[in-house]
Subunit: 336 residues, 2 copies
Amino acid sequence: MAINRQVLLAKRPSGPVTPDCFALRDAAVPAPGPGQVLVRNLFLSCDPYMRGRMAAGSGGYASGFALGEPVPARVVGQVLASRDGGFVPGDYVWGFMRWEHYSLVADAATLYRIDPSLGPVSHAISVLGMPGRTAEVGMLELGRPRAGDTVFVSAASGAVGQIAGQLAKAAGARVIGSAGSDAKVRHVVDVLGFDDAFNYRTVASPGEALDRLCPDGIDVYFDNVGGATLDAVLARLRPFARIPVCGMISQYDGQGAGIRNLAAVVGARATMTGFIIYDHMDGFEAFPARMAERMRRGEVRYFEDIVDGIENTPAAFIGMMAGDNLGKRLVRVAEA
Amino acid sequence: MAINRQVLLAKRPSGPVTPDCFALRDAAVPAPGPGQVLVRNLFLSCDPYMRGRMAAGSGGYASGFALGEPVPARVVGQVLASRDGGFVPGDYVWGFMRWEHYSLVADAATLYRIDPSLGPVSHAISVLGMPGRTAEVGMLELGRPRAGDTVFVSAASGAVGQIAGQLAKAAGARVIGSAGSDAKVRHVVDVLGFDDAFNYRTVASPGEALDRLCPDGIDVYFDNVGGATLDAVLARLRPFARIPVCGMISQYDGQGAGIRNLAAVVGARATMTGFIIYDHMDGFEAFPARMAERMRRGEVRYFEDIVDGIENTPAAFIGMMAGDNLGKRLVRVAEA
């Protein structure tokens, strides 16, 4: 008889997330009641924003995850049993489920059907899902790169950064990235087609690297990290620069240093805009096909970094927060 | 025979501006050549942005002031002699002239005629001029206060802040101010009609004061100061908050501390926009009459803090940077 292995939030992190923040539990596989759907999970997502919701009262934008319960996350799965008229067994779906093998979805309206003809089903929670739409909103709607602009993307090989940079390239901009290893830097330039990139862990400073790679300053900075990188960008803004702020991962772990150059937004007449993708869900239905078409045209390539086995989810998450992933970090918990 | 007393930039400040950064010089009164206009100056402006241009390579948005030359500034005066067809002696004008008794204007196209029927001629470089238009653009175009919003204005009794707060009140917002003395705080509340205000020098912290006066958070922050005040606001933003950044006077003197709460713009989906008024001069011709009408309706009251005598200009500027002015700081160098 099948069991439902789950990854629980056992302890709230203070500072970096550690393995003892999580625990495994084996539960019974639930049966769907009227209107409910039982999903056999295939891919669990690991995303930086989850760190904030694991901590209590961390100033995050959504309420915290419950202690002692499976960690909520975006999940791709396949319908195993349905008592909702909208889904039948075998349907591929994604939604906010949990880090577990089987998720009972109480409200079928929160599930999204996946069109498997658009690409691998895992893409529904990566390039064809929220990370992809995040890149599109942040880069195209807020960053608005123009031909000839210099665009800089931090966390350039990550779930969102890799798409953001390629969208700016397609718009005619010169695109520079930063990432946390030489392998990522090579990937960003050689595979994703960025014009150049640097390893923020080995350069003398982000400012030195930006002086070298963006000598005329920066028109658009797609900020995934905050911290010293943002500070260096602020000192090198071109007039009317745009800074969509997708996240400040360097500050999620409570390590944030102060930003010293913020006054530069006045001289540069710069606009910095924080955004959360759930404010931009109008017309999301059309997004997967639009992004899949960009991929078909070769404008966007996408890389996932897949870890196997639900037991490895805590390590996969902790490693992602430390930057050990090359591309979007997912955990595969069953074969499609 | 008349002499032209001038205030020169004698030394570039590093840190706070000191009296030895300036020197007086008595020069001959120039005679206008073809196409030139000679102006007898009445009011010299002292503005915080000038600090940045006195320093060399300070990251300001405009080139630095020349050493050994009279300090460039906005000035109100009266045409004394004109060899340009557009002006005749007696015309009241304002423009970028210099800290001196008589300014020779080489390009008459840079002079603006003042309509004295709109109010005191000094208003042309205060409420009916750039400070007024700065408040209008920052508060109404970027801040966009709505009825019921909580709006916070720092430097609330200053040249721009006093107008910004009153425009937000007229839009139906609840308006809180901060200022640097108890007298200013009383002025802001009792005379300008802000809902409440605090003295940032005597409160335990800006955060404590904002928790008390803006318990539900802040929708619009009109930032004149940066620093610890901005940091406290960032921790208290309401969703979709707007932060027009007019200046960060606390950082002009090189005293800037790091901003630690910037990551809050993501959770709040906040937009911070630096702006410079000279990017918003379209339609400026209509502005003085529009603001004069607001004053006639009683929506906006305006206060100038006038120091007499060109010799007192350095002290007037230094004092303004330290906050000793109540209202827009001007130096009167002749009677109208």
